[in-house]
Amino acid sequence: MSTMFSWSITTAQILLSLAMACAAFRILWGPRAQDRVVGFDTLSVNAMLLLLAFGIRSGSALYFESALIVGLLGFVSTVALAKFLLRGEVIE
């Protein structure tokens, strides 16, 4: 692995970490509940992308499974939170 390649992976990880920080600020300072839910959805997708970048850096196939699980759980929990905002309960 050349120096340029590991440097570019580091750059991508820093950019994704800044994106996760933006989403975390939106979760903390969101004026209403739906802003926090959008921030959580963005945070989970950014965490999934960061796991993919970690997988490219380590060359291991294990990070892909965790990335898939994080993406799937992020979608399910976002839909559950939106259902809670819409109805007041998740399962009715």
């Binding site: 390649f5 994106a19 939106r26 739906q34 950014n46 992308l49 490219i56 905002l85």
Partner: protein
């Protein structure tokens, strides 16, 4: 021989470019989520990062692992198809919940009633 090994191949350059492009697009979408003023503007910004950034970074992972020959490349297509399918569903459900909370259910044509 050593210089040949050290020289970046086409797949390495493609992987690095796709990684940085995907991370930059994701960062632009998240900054839009942070900087826009209203909710209905804000909900559009991260879809850029979730779809385009996921496509770029998953393509980079696909190219890199198929170059290494560790495993077949079709796993990342699962993530791409899943994200492309679920992002509009998430946006639609969230905007429907926000319209209901804003009291749009009382307007004619609204559908937020219990």
């Amino acid at each position: 021989m050593n210089e040949v090994m050290d020289a970046p191949s086409l797949a390495t350059i493609l992987t690095a470019t796709l990684l940085i492009a995907g991370a930059a697009v994701t960062l632009i979408g998240s900054v839009g989520l942070l900087r826009f003023s209203g909710f209905y503007q804000r909900v559009h910004a991260p879809t850029l990062g979730t779809t385009l950034g996921t496509i770029f970074i998953a393509a980079a992972s696909m190219i890199y692992f198929s170059t290494l020959g560790i495993r077949p490349v079709l796993h990342e297509l699962l993530i791409i198809v899943f994200i492309i399918t679920t992002t509009p569903i998430t946006l639609m459900v969230l905007v429907r919940a926000a319209r209901f909370r804003d009291g749009a259910g009382s307007k004619p044509g609204g559908h937020g009633e219990k």
